[in-house]
Every structure is written in C-alpha cells, then in structure tokens.
C-alpha cells in the first residue's frame, strides 16, 4: 500500500525563522513528487520534482528530492505570516490502468506568528 509520511505534523515559528518540512514516501510506480500549499480548501501548486538532487526554487521557497532515500524536503526562509498554511506532499504514481494519481500525505501545519 502506498505510504506518505510528513513531519512534523505541526510547527509554530516566528516571522523571519527558517523552516524545513520533511516528506518520506513508499509508493509503487513513482513518477514525480509534488508540493502543495493549502490555506483554506483548495491546495495550490508549489513544486514538481522529478530528478534527484536538483533544487527547485521559487522566492523564499525551495525543495529537493532524493529518489534513492525516497525523501523530499521543502524549505522556507525568512518566513512571513502569509506562509501559515498546511503544506502537502504528494508523490505522483502510475496506476495499473495507466492513469496518474497523486498520493497525499497528511500535511504539515505551519503557523508563523508575528
């Protein structure tokens, strides 16, 4: 059975702090790994990682994938209150039927206090 574990489940920091969110996975037919930010209901896309060791960066956010260790991290530097959200990790897998399916972790709830 596909398994995605995110840690920590919850994190409270002060503005300006740097945080690292972790995601480990065990899935069949792995294709890539995606990170989403969920503030209210609809998750919004952050990154898609396909290759190991290549860091993707967007402003203060960056992420990297280790396909050997089945692990990814999401870093946020100089956090702001607007970064408060649940961050979801989702490996993309290929089903037996040939369709692509995201397998989501439970998420890390980040709270950034002023």
């Amino acid at each position: 059975e596909d398994k995605v574990v995110q840690s920590p489940l919850s994190l409270v920091v002060h503005e300006g702090d740097t945080v690292t969110l972790n995601c480990s996975y065990e899935v069949t037919n792995f294709r890539s790994l995606l990170w989403y930010k969920q503030e209210k209901k609809a998750p919004t896309f952050l990154f898609m990682l396909t290759s190991s060791g290549i860091e993707k960066k967007s402003g203060r956010l960056s992420s990297i994938l280790d396909k050997k260790e089945l692990f990814s991290i999401l870093n946020i530097t100089a956090t702001q209150t607007g970064d408060s959200a649940v961050y979801l990790c989702a490996p993309l897998t290929l089903t037996q039927g040939g369709s692509e399916k995201l397998v989501f972790g439970k998420g890390t709830k980040l709270t950034v206090n002023p």
Partner: protein, 117 residues
C-alpha cells in the same frame, strides 16, 4: 470563471439521505479527479476521469459512492445513504491530462464541505 468550480460549497444532510456534488473543470482539461479530505487528514484519491476512457474508480471507499462525467465537462459525485463518516471536504481537480510521460498540474476547486448529521 477561469478556475475549477464546485457546488454546493457546503452541504448538511441527514444520515441515510443521498447527496450529489458537482464539479465544473477548467475548459479544455480532459482529466478530472475527485478527492476526499477528512478533518486533519491528507487528501484521499477517489476517482479519476480521462477523456472518454473508462474511469479509474480504485479509490472509491464503498459502493455507496459513484461518479459520472459527461464527455470532458461537468462531473457529479453521488453518495447514497450517507453515513456520518462521509463527513469531509470533497475536492475536485482538473488537469490537461493525457496518458503520456510527464505530468500536467492539477488545479483544485474550492471544495464542498459535507456534514452528515
């Protein structure tokens, strides 16, 4: 609108009743997904539609759950004889799709919050 829309945004129903949730994907998106998110949990895949191909129903939790999609447009998720454990946010997503190598980003709708009393 340009995004994925869902209706209703909130639905409160009594145990045993049937409910129907609607999703309007982004125009031109051939792939459509339904997910369920229980309180404090991650998103749980339910069903996937790709064009006119047979849907992937592998995530549906029981035969009380069914979904339909007409062509590449609107989809409805139906839950029959609702139970309290069905209470969750039901999210729909769409993407350009296509069973080819590579991936098309999934765009999520705002979800429907279902509460079964």
């Amino acid at each position: 609108g340009a995004g994925v829309s869902q209706s209703p945004s909130n639905k409160v129903t009594e145990k045993g009743k049937d409910v129907e949730l609607r999703c309007d994907p982004i125009s031109g998106h051939t792939a459509l997904y339904w997910y369920r998110q229980r309180l404090g949990q991650g998103l749980e895949f339910l069903i996937y539609f790709q064009g006119n191909s047979a849907p992937d129903k592998s995530g549906l939790p029981s035969d009380r759950f069914s979904a339909e999609r007409t062509g590449e447009s609107v989809s409805t998720l139906t839950i029959q004889r609702t139970q309290q454990e069905d209470s969750a946010v039901y999210l729909c997503a769409s993407s350009l799709g296509g069973r080819v190598a590579g991936y098309n980003e999934q765009f999520f709708g705002p979800g429907t919050r279902l509460t079964v009393l």
